[in-house]
Symmetry: C2
Subunit: 214 residues, 2 copies
DNA sequence: TATATATCTGAATGATCCTTCAGTTAGGAA
DNA sequence: TTCCTAACTGAAGGATCATTCAGATATATA
């Protein structure tokens, strides 16, 4: 899997080697800056200049790390998905031979934990998700998410699935929906996030139980 | 509830009366044009001029029906939400005194039917959803959706809910997630939409059963 | 210290876009 | 048929933006 932060450059004058930052961890800084701009100004006012400013570098520098604006947005999306994938892959390792009930909760917890750990990033990314051309968006990462959940499902000591791919897909989609809804409602109070965790668990347990061959 | 297509104008020179179209159902035509542009060009290339062209009117005319571009996007989003709300409100009327199992399926069916009836509009709207400022987005319509489902839930002959609002919210969010996921995957074949309907039903049944006080 | 080289800078370019409004057109009243 | 008015038109104003690149700067090496 390619490093999320190093999108393949497609510049007219391509560099031979990746930039060796002189001013600290610049890529990371630009990522964070983009998230902040997204939060404070919204997608339509996210400009390369603004992001660079917020990140403490010049536009020119930004363009040394990302070939264009789209690649920047793409990169922060990809990075976030990868965090979710890693969390789910950790669940796989930890749940071997456990009952379905437990797996269901672990999947929900992993998903929720990543989202809740960075509420700002989560909200920011929901603002980009629709704008990025989903066809260009690498399907690899989606496959990786689905596969991670499939692997967890096969760990169940007391259940099996005839269509694990479909089940994995639906579960992930449903969790994504509840997440999106919860964060959209975050304005009404931070206690929303506790409800998010509980509802995600309940949903995960209920759906997997119903979809499983016991 | 305000007419979705007549967003309150905030022009510098406000008109006293709504425009009386001379060229047919112009508002509707502009709505459809916007959806087509969204589908074929994406959000970043959706311009007022392009929408007007596609709709067979001039930009000037477009600005007689919508005070600005944001209002146009807002209006098509709102119209779609209202269709979903209407479908759910019809379910309320039709399901009085039925068992939870049936309510669950009816809710899922109503949701799925609206989305599947206009796949193009559904996909187009997912591209806008994040870009519109959710804070400006009227919370009224969300409340209306949640209330419609709450009313259906109270119809159950064999179950009750201690936190119907939370349950309604989670169910709607989860259905939205599955819908979004399914339509994003539509490229891999139209049979996806059949799976969408079945998974939505299964999810709805499973979650409501788990969340209910039997 | 002097030189070479890679990184950083930000003004300038060229393009796109939203929005307006002076002028044109069409439908209806008289 | 003529006139009135509301709807329609689209070129132009004003603003914003993505991207480039020639020059400035900092680090490493000799």
């Amino acid at each position: 899997m390619k490093d999320a932060s190093q999108v393949v450059p497609q510049r007219l004058k391509p560099r031979k080697t990746p930039v060796q930052s002189r001013s600290g961890v610049t890529v990371e800084a630009i990522h964070e800056a983009a998230i902040q701009v997204l939060l404070s100004e919204g997608l339509s006012r996210l400009t390369t200049t603004r992001v660079a400013e917020r990140g403490g570098v010049s536009v020119g520098t930004l363009y040394q790390y990302f070939p264009n604006k789209e690649a920047l947005l793409f990169a922060i999306l990809l990075r976030h998905f990868e965090e979710v994938a890693e969390a789910l892959e950790r669940v796989d390792i930890a749940t071997n031979g456990r009952p379905l009930e437990e797996l269901a909760e672990s999947i929900a917890d992993a998903y929720v934990s990543v989202k809740v750990a960075r509420p700002d990033a989560t909200i920011a990314l929901y603002r980009v998700a629709g704008a990025i051309d989903q066809f260009k968006m690498s399907p690899d990462i989606h496959v990786r998410l689905v596969n991670a959940v499939i692997r967890v499902l096969t760990n169940a000591s007391d259940a099996s699935f005839t269509e694990p791919r479909k089940v994995s897909f639906t579960l992930l989609s449903a969790l994504a929906g509840v997440s999106r809804g919860s964060f959209a409602n975050l304005a009404s109070g931070p206690e929303i996030l506790e409800g998010f965790r509980e509802e995600a668990r309940l949903l995960s347990r209920a759906y997997l139980r119903a979809a499983a061959q016991i």
